[in-house]
């Protein structure tokens, strides 16, 4: 059987996390090729529906990431994300999606290293869990 290559969707805010990923590139850091980044202006734009849809489509994991508390380019969009994603986490667990498959992270534009660390951890965790069975469709 072919090696399991998890696919992980990342929702990254334009001002911090997306820039951190750019910095990881300009600094020629290395991390696994399992991530697909979708840019939003602020993590506050991330509708929980987006995350659910990603799992439904076959994502093995999802990361929502933005600026550190207090650093959001739009004052406090990330705090609203925090609230929403905390609720979403519970919901995901109820749906039978292991909590290791979903992460909310604060990664500043300078923290390319933190991104690489999060990326490595996430791939490890998800690999350990194995592919996500398309359980969601049953629930709907």
């Amino acid at each position: 059987m072919a090696e399991f290559k998890p696919k992980i969707v990342v929702f990254a805010c334009n001002w911090c996390t997306y820039a951190a990923l750019d910095l990881a590139g300009t600094s020629r850091m290395k991390y696994p090729a399992n991530f697909r980044v979708i840019k939003v202006m602020c993590s506050g734009r991330v509708d929980p529906q987006f995350v659910l849809e990603a799992f439904k489509q076959g994502a093995d994991g999802v990361i929502v990431a933005g600026c550190h508390p207090g650093d959001c380019h739009y004052v406090n969009g990330n705090m609203k994300t925090l609230r929403r994603m905390t609720m979403l986490k519970k919901m995901l667990e109820e749906m039978g999606i292991e909590k290791e498959r979903f992460r909310l992270e604060w990664i500043s534009a300078a923290e390319a290293t933190k991104w690489v660390q999060v990326a490595n951890e996430m791939v490890e965790q998800v690999k350990a869990l194995g592919p996500l069975k398309p359980r969601l469709e049953v629930k709907e």
Partner: protein
């Protein structure tokens, strides 16, 4: 409306150029080195908010490059200025890059192939660059430059490897210096600073003991684009330090070198100690200081955080000397703790010196009497209370560290002030 010249492309010059250009004034920004950015481009993170220096600077640099009202003259210097407020004639010399900037895409192929290694100024000589180089990854303009002093073709007449590998055929060994003459309404000078020579305080052993660093070198050690890719390691053996001493007021507040206070180094060391702790959680950081000049907005709070949250130790003392243990290359700091009046010594495995800022006055403007040095060698502002950024001659403005030691926020504020005053000359010129 007449244009304005801004001399020096550090944060002060960049901001002045943007504030003028956004008012519809045409600006020529003249920078001596191949890229704008100045010292701020070399810093890792910045106090007191710890945001990454290049993350906040790069967008401004790109904005300068894209602005329709700004003409960027990098690798260029002002040769001569004559005239009166509202009507200065400025002669500018553009040095040849030996690279056609219209063709160069900044791909870096040439850099990879060039066989000659030269100490890298951007990393303060702590690693090597090539004879053809792009000073740092975020350089603006992102173009290669050949350093003719080291290039084999210019020194020995051989090589031309870069020419062979350059995809868009941008290399041009026949480029000549170019002279440009401008007629402008006002001149803003923002030529910044360099550190004083820390060897002047020989008792600290800089240049002699490998594990003694200047604070600017330490910034480069912290930075992921630095010589160690952000690893704090000792020059002598590449090991992580366990105990770092920061020594304040080196060549500042000092009768023998500079009597003034350099204004930024207390906060810079506080920041560097915090960052060292972030990089190496077990490292112990001690700051030897006389007074903590935490005067700016958010600075006192930052200082308190360093003590409480990060456990940085502050010792009120001016160390007398440093000795090196020749075996371990560790450093023994001798000092009198003024809060206990005890003479004592303590061993560290790395020392960072907070060295004084020295202004860089552009010769051509000093010679023509447009800028005058004050007692300390900074650009004088005779009407400081009413026109805080006006130089000895009206129509000439001096801002940033060139004018007095200062942090980024104050440099940016002065840039705005100079842009405002210069714009008034531009519209009536």
């Amino acid at each position: 409306m007449k244009p304005v010249v801004v001399v020096g492309g550090g944060i002060a010059g960049i901001q002045a150029a943007l504030d003028l250009a956004d008012q519809g004034v045409k600006v020529y920004l003249v920078e001596k080195s191949p890229s704008i950015g100045g010292r701020m481009a070399q810093l890792d993170k910045t106090f007191p908010t710890l945001d990454c220096s290049s993350c906040i600077l790069t967008p401004k640099m790109v904005a300068v490059d894209r602005h329709e009202n700004i003409e960027l003259l990098t690798y260029a210097e002002v040769k001569e200025v004559v005239g009166e407020p509202g009507n200065f004639k400025v002669k500018i010399l553009k040095k040849p890059r030996y690279v056609d900037v219209d063709k160069c895409t900044g791909c870096g192929q040439c850099v990879m192939k060039c066989p000659v290694k030269v100490p890298n100024e951007f990393n303060l000589g702590m690693d090597m660059r090539k004879a053809i180089y792009i000073p740092f990854p975020q350089a603006v303009p992102l173009k290669a430059t050949i350093d003719p002093e080291h290039c084999l073709y210019f020194t020995k007449g051989v090589c031309r490897v870069c020419e062979r590998f350059c995809p868009p055929k941008a290399i041009n060994f026949n480029q000549k210096p170019e002279e440009i003459e401008l007629n402008v309404a006002a001149i803003i000078v923002a030529t910044g600073f360099s550190l004083d020579d820390a060897r002047k305080r020989g008792e600290y052993g800089y240049g002699k003991y490998p594990n003694v660093y200047t604070n600017l070198e330490f910034e480069r050690l912290l930075s992921s684009t630095g010589p160690t890719k952000g690893e704090i390691v000792r020059r002598s053996d590449g090991r992580h330090p366990k105990k770092i001493a920061f020594i304040q007021c080196v060549c500042s507040r000092d009768e023998l070198t500079n009597k003034y206070c350099s204004a930024i180094c207390c906060m810079a060391s506080t920041k560097e100690a915090i960052l060292a702790k972030e990089h190496l959680p077990d490292v112990e950081c001690t700051i030897f200081f006389m007074d903590v000049r935490a005067f700016g907005k958010g600075y006192q709070e930052f200082f308190e955080r360093a003590k409480q949250e990060f456990g940085v130790r502050f010792v009120r003392a001016r160390p007398a000397k440093i000795e090196e243990d020749p075996k371990t290359r560790n450093l023994i700091v001798y000092y009198e703790d003024t809060e206990t009046s005890r003479f004592t010594k303590e061993e560290f495995d790395m020392v960072v010196l907070a060295v004084a800022l020295r202004p860089i006055l552009p010769e051509s403007l000093v010679k023509s009497g447009l800028i005058q040095p004050d007692n300390y060698g900074f650009a004088d502002v005779p009407e400081m209370y009413i026109e805080p950024v006006r130089a000895s001659k009206p129509g000439i403005f001096v801002i940033g560290v060139l004018q007095s030691p200062k942090d980024i926020p104050d440099s940016v504020i002065q840039a705005g002030a100079a842009a405002m005053r210069a714009a008034i000359y531009a519209i009536s010129g």
